[in-house]
């Protein structure tokens, strides 16, 4: 399987990710790798089995805060929480932010070679959602609660 890696400026991240979303590409994963800098790779699949080219969008950051892509790809929140917690990458506006409580690991930023030796301090606040996303969830809940799925009854053949 071929792979195409495109390195972009982190300021153009949302714009680039939106482009892939418009093309109906599937986000496969976000991969972080840290040495002197931290490298974030966003892998995409065109969701077409005949297309064997993987597209990878990459940004390099040192200490910058980057935007969450969870508004564009809602399921990115898990990847972003993981990267935030294990690599210490600053990511803002994650739709479901665990504030460092996704993993119960004893060492803070365990995958970041440049991290200071520090153990985790557990906070009471474990999960926070941005106001926008919680409102959305509420609206969706209200809508869907009135639409009860009809039972098919009987058995399938």
């Amino acid at each position: 399987m071929q792979q195409e890696i495109t390195v972009i400026d982190h300021k153009k991240l949302l714009e680039t990710i939106s482009f892939y979303k418009q093309k109906k590409a599937r986000l496969i994963a976000i991969t972080a790798s840290s040495k002197e800098n931290t490298e974030l790779s966003y892998s995409f699949d065109a969701n077409d089995t005949s297309n064997t080219v993987q597209k990878i969008v990459r940004i390099n950051i040192t200490n910058e805060t980057i935007d969450s892509i969870s508004e564009i790809y809602p399921y990115a929140f898990l990847y972003e929480n993981e990267i935030k917690e294990l690599f210490g990458v600053k990511i803002k506006n994650i739709s479901l932010d665990f504030d460092g409580n996704l993993y119960k690991v004893s060492k803070k930023e365990a995958f970041n070679p440049n991290a200071k030796e520090e153990t985790f301090k557990k906070t009471d606040k474990t999960v926070s959602q941005t106001d926008k996303s919680s409102k959305k969830t509420e609206q969706k809940d209200n809508k869907s609660s009135s639409e009860k799925p009809a039972k098919k009854g009987g058995q399938k053949k």
Binding site: T31, S33, S41, L78, T137, Q155, K156
Partner: protein
């Protein structure tokens, strides 16, 4: 209506491994579920900086006890792509054969757990009885039943002689015959239908939007199956991705049952087309570069990313397991479900927390 938050897990009878969910309920209806993982995070990805690139195969195989072989294979394929190693054809066929046996055993294990979750214990026992026969084939061909360490960078460590292949072929026929008999219960029994039909519906659009993979995606009508890209020997066997369109628990069960029989057919094809020749390619030098390898495990697509720097020790290995990818889809199916269905809806993704906590 007032809301109640019920903690579900990390210890629960339906969960063999720890995962926690905060279930927000209105009466008996779940309106929201917030996951918490990481109770047994092992940091295996970080171990790549302490084990050399050949030793790490053994670590990769220990990420999961069910799809152990495919973890080892995923890692080996990533390194082989970086080093531009052409694996012998026979090794590719053997890898495909063991991969499909792993899929059969994984699906049969899940079907048993699934039956047990809705209280059908005899069906659970029948499923696991059949699974034992597949484990026997593993033992016969590799010496191991769970982790068998036959995959290595450049090929495989063990060959299977013609007599054993013939023997496997007849055993597969027996297993298929048995499975055909009791799969009718999954398809037609009323008690199974009551607990699975129209339960936990995930539409095709939702499955795509939430990044679902494997039988979770295929049960909702997405025909994504990485085997179609033709890695290992998949390009030389005939098969089509299996999918169902209803998107409920019943559809996901049907996908796994049909894939069980499909895997049996692929194994028979591999045995029929098995080429003669070497089973391993000599590996010289050290890897330098990076590669994103994807393959289809029983639970869905897995991603193996390896980044090497020309030394014995890699800079990074990253594994994105199918369970990790299916968590958002599982949360969606939990919304508006009944509290009594929560254990089934968690099991429906075939969760492997061991994989997730790599």
């Amino acid at each position: 209506m007032s809301r109640t938050v019920i903690p579900f897990g990390p210890q629960h009878p339906v969960l063999p491994e720890p995962i926690h969910l905060d279930l927000v309920l209105e009466d008996e209806k779940v309106v929201e579920a917030i996951p918490r993982i990481g109770y047994v995070h092992r940091g295996l990805e970080l171990l790549v900086q302490k084990k050399d690139f050949k030793q790490y195969v053994f670590v990769a195989e220990r990420i999961c006890g069910i799809c152990s072989f495919m973890h080892g294979m995923g890692y080996c394929c990533a390194i082989e792509n970086i080093m531009d190693i052409k694996v012998p054809e026979r090794a590719d066929f053997l890898r495909t054969l063991w991969s499909e046996l792993s899929r059969m055993h994984s699906h049969m294990l899940w079907l048993g757990l699934w039956a047990d979750a809705f209280g059908f214990e005899s069906l659970f026992m029948h499923s696991w009885r059949l699974r034992e026969k597949i484990l026997d084939i593993f033992e016969q061909t590799t010496g191991g039943r769970v982790i068998f360490s036959v995959c290595e960078i450049g090929g495989v460590k063990k060959d299977i002689d013609a007599e054993t292949l013939k023997n496997i072929s007849s055993k597969i026929d027996e297993i298929k015959k048995d499975a055909l008999e009791f799969s009718k219960v999954f398809y037609k029994d009323k008690t199974v239908a009551v607990r699975t039909v129209d339960v936990g519906i995930l539409t095709k659009e939702q499955a795509f939007a939430l990044g679902a993979v494997g039988p979770m995606a295929r049960g909702s009508g997405l025909s994504q199956d990485l085997r179609s890209t033709g890695y290992a020997a998949y390009g030389q066997v005939d098969f089509e991705p299996i999918f169902e369109t209803d998107g409920d628990c019943y559809a996901r069960t049907a996908v796994r049952i049909r894939e069980f029989f499909q895997s049996a057919d692929i194994i028979k094809q591999c045995i029929g087309k098995m080429p003669e020749g070497e089973i391993r390619q000599k590996v010289t030098g050290k890897p330098n570069g990076e590669y994103f390898m994807r393959l289809e495990q029983p639970r869905g697509e897995v991603l193996y990313y390896a980044k090497a720097n020309g030394t014995d020790f890699l800079d990074r290995v990253r594994v994105r397991t199918p369970t990790f990818a299916n968590i958002p889809a599982m949360l969606e199916t939990l919304k508006n479900s009944q509290l009594a269905d929560v254990p089934l809806l968690i099991l429906t993704i075939d969760p492997c927390i061991s994989c997730t906590e790599r």
